[in-house]
């Protein structure tokens, strides 16, 4: 007779215990971006809502940036780094296909022997990570999970491409997710639409660049109108579904924290969602730019630290981007 194996037992629920973020020191104005593209401060503000953004220093790596945010989140969580059982790093800008940024980060922050892997879901990566961490905590494969969204997009953006150069920036945000007696992370609504792979992609693969060369190292290429249409139409439906699955209404929200893709997308989503006027909306893109996987935790940290939203309030988070991948869930703010 075959022996019966034991099944892991996890916590009844999971919650975000803490958040930390890191915005690189160097502030880059629209005027500076316009030194390399044919554009103006006014045009960039109108099209994106961005006034300035942060660029990492040339010698600052993705893992350096991630570490700065992760250490703040761990310090605020009340647990020791060696209690972390899994490190998830959402990023598309770590310049090594292997080893993972997560393995290096786990070692650096002292998450001894933690399992570690990277998530490649672009701007949806942080919300993917929160959902996966929740499942780990509830499923019993990790008691505490460090989830980091980090990007150094300036390494992968063509500063002379007027459709992307003004949008993307660098930064990191991190949360520690652990057990909870009460529900604190709602059901995730997620997916990926590979039919629209070309909406946000690279100009060519690294191996094509190696073999064929070309004028430029591979950089991000985006079909702005296609992404805008998809984000405004489809993501509103996904956001509504996340609210419905969490069994709350928009009126119950203490914050709406969408991926900081573009202020115009945020504005259009707020209109389509008929979000009540009393719900604060993350608009961190104005001074941080679009930091892809990092944008939601950076915005969350800022809204909490400024007192704009209360600890323990409900926030609707939604990430969406290349893939086209998306994920949304309602969370209790740490």
């Amino acid at each position: 007779m075959t022996a019966t194996i034991s099944s892991p037992a996890g916590a009844p629920h999971a919650r975000i215990m803490s958040v930390g973020s890191y915005r690189p020191e160097r502030v880059v104005t629209n005027a500076e971006v316009c030194e390399l593209i044919d554009s103006t401060d006014e045009w960039i503000r109108e099209r994106s809502g961005i006034v300035e953004r942060r660029y990492a220093a040339p010698d600052e790596t993705v893992v350096d940036i991630a570490q700065a945010a992760a250490e703040k989140a761990i310090a605020a969580s009340g647990i020791r780094a060696d209690q972390i059982g899994f490190v998830l790093v959402a990023t598309v800008t770590h310049p090594y296909p292997t080893p993972s940024a997560a393995a290096e980060l786990a070692y650096r922050v002292g998450a001894i022997d933690a399992a570690a892997t990277d998530i490649s879901s672009a701007c949806a990566g942080f919300c993917y990570g929160v959902a996966m961490a929740q499942d780990m905590v509830r499923g019993g494969s990790a008691e505490y999970v460090l989830v980091v969204g980090v990007e150094k997009l300036t390494d992968w953006v063509d500063p002379t491409d007027r459709s992307t150069a003004f949008i993307f920036a660098d930064g990191a945000g991190a949360v520690v997710i652990g057990p909870s007696d009460t529900p604190a992370i709602g059901p995730v609504v997620w997916g990926a639409d590979g039919e629209q792979l070309d909406a946000i992609t690279m100009t060519q693969s690294l191996t094509d660049y190696r073999d064929n060369g070309g004028p430029r190292f591979p950089t991000l290429a985006m079909k702005g109108q296609q992404v805008f249409r998809w984000a405004v139409s489809k993501m509103t439906v996904v956001a509504k579904e996340a609210l419905a699955k969490a069994d709350i209404s928009a009126d119950d929200l203490a914050a709406f924290i969408p991926h900081q893709a573009n202020m115009r997308i945020t504005d259009a989503m707020v209109r389509s969602l008929s979000l009540p006027a009393h719900v604060p909306v993350a608009r961190d893109i104005e001074t941080t730019g679009n930091t892809s996987a990092a944008s939601i935790p950076i915005a969350m940290d800022r809204m909490l630290s400024s007192g704009e939203v209360p600890h323990g309030g409900l926030a609707l988070t939604i990430g969406f981007g290349a893939g086209l991948a998306y994920a949304a869930q309602v969370v209790v703010l740490p």
Partner: protein, 79 residues
């Protein structure tokens, strides 16, 4: 040229971009005359799709230079 579609489009353009309804005339170009940028144009297109139950693919949007082009496209699509 359908006056009904023109009027409906004028209301949409007004709601999306704040352009006065009376300025939305067939000979006006969305970008050059009405100062509708590419993202607002997407919102106009999406609202038009909802209102008239038509499909206006991204590949077609760039051909809709003037208000008249859009009215004609919607007219044909709903015929």
């Amino acid at each position: 040229m359908s006056q009904e579609i023109l009027d409906g489009l004028a209301v949409i353009v007004n709601e999306v971009a704040g352009v006065p309804v009376e300025d939305v005339q067939p000979d006006k170009a969305f970008i050059d005359d009405l100062d509708i940028d590419s993202l607002s144009m997407v919102e106009v297109v999406m609202a038009a799709e909802d209102k008239w139950g038509v499909k206006i693919p991204d590949s077609e949007v760039k051909n809709l230079r003037t208000v008249g082009d859009a009215v004609a496209y919607i007219q044909t699509a709903t015929a």
